[in-house]
């Protein structure tokens, strides 16, 4: 797969089939992930791949509990993730779509065939771990695997560590859980605010005026 196809179409795929991911693909994803850069090339990372059904069930209980808490605490229990406050129909609809999809994941976490739990240490900024995580997801995309980056479980790191026998005195943090499986939906180019709106040249506020309204890569 061309690198731009991967970069443009690796969108969050929360809804996936229960079919297992072949071990060869899991290896490929991990071997790509560890090529990413990290500060001073320290590689302070661990990748824990969970496919065991009972462990997924236990993690799923924690995930759902955290998700419910998160929804209640940050959005007052409203399932629309605050979409009503967005004030723009198109964006509000997108927020509602994401919210529904995220709710699906919370309900079906234990049915997702593989979870990659990513741990790092000595990386307070995330700069030395998220490139590796994104590489894992891009490599999965190249093999037709849909993934979603979630940070929800980090709120319940203690519970997750207990389920997975992670030592709590070695400085490891749980950065993310990448859920993975063959997607139920279709691949496509993610919709985003255009480059001109988020880019400046030389000084803050100095728009490039490139008029890049459409993605530079498309099917």
């Amino acid at each position: 797969m061309d690198v731009f196809e991967a970069l443009y179409t690796t969108r969050s795929m929360r809804r996936v089939k229960e079919d297992p991911i072949p071990e060869e693909i899991i290896k490929t994803m991990l071997d790509a992930a560890i090529r990413a850069p990290s500060g001073s090339n320290r590689q302070g990372w661990k990748f824990l791949v969970v496919t065991d059904q009972e462990t997924r069930k236990q993690l799923g209980d924690v995930y759902r509990e955290t998700w419910d808490y998160y929804m209640k605490e940050f959005y007052g229990g409203k399932p629309d993730l605050g979409a009503s406050g967005v004030g723009d129909d198109k964006k509000a609809n997108q927020v509602i779509r994401i919210s529904k999809s995220a709710g699906w994941l919370a309900e079906n976490f234990h049915k997702v065939p593989a979870h990659f739990l990513i741990f790092s240490r000595n990386d307070p900024t995330g700069s030395s771990i998220f490139p590796a995580i994104w590489s894992l997801m891009l490599a999965g995309r190249a093999h037709g695997i849909g993934t979603c980056l979630t940070t929800v479980m980090s709120f319940k790191q203690k519970e997750a560590f207990e389920i997975l026998d992670v030592p709590d005195d070695k400085g490891w943090s749980l950065n993310a859980v990448i859920t993975a499986g063959y997607p139920l939906g279709k691949w496509g180019v993610a919709e985003r605010n255009p480059v001109d709106e988020v880019t400046y040249l030389d000084k803050w506020g100095n728009s490039p005026n490139w008029n890049l309204e459409e993605p530079l890569w498309n099917y």
Copy 2:
């Protein structure tokens, strides 16, 4: 370019030529970057591309000052980044190589033709910005542009904000500076600790024993 070639060979390229990067390539890098996922698709990011010579010079002064401080504070002024404490000749040599290369960058920051300064807000974990940053670097790689992710300048965010007219009351943080240019060195597959050493299955400590000693992708 195949996605795996990009994932395996986008290593830190600090030493680059002074030749400018064509604007079309800069656009391509940014347009790829904004396709990356962010929490709830909030896209709370700004990309500031600096090619202006005077601005690069001013940033270079701040960068070098910060680098010198960093070296002194964390490594007691020893230019080997603590390599002597590594206790493994191969790894110590690698640390020395990185240190020399990083020193080159500090000395020549103003000669690097383009700097991408990346800002985000409401993203304490880095999970919503570093995928975009890594996409920018991978897209550059596909066009032969060498990049290096540095977080050094975040220590001098105030000075950088002043140079670039960034408002300091809007919640923006400087996550990274990506230096970019045509590389002086050669592309290659980055050397890393193998997957077996950093991967567990289902429970912490449970090695997969895949014996992936060599990269799964190579020239």
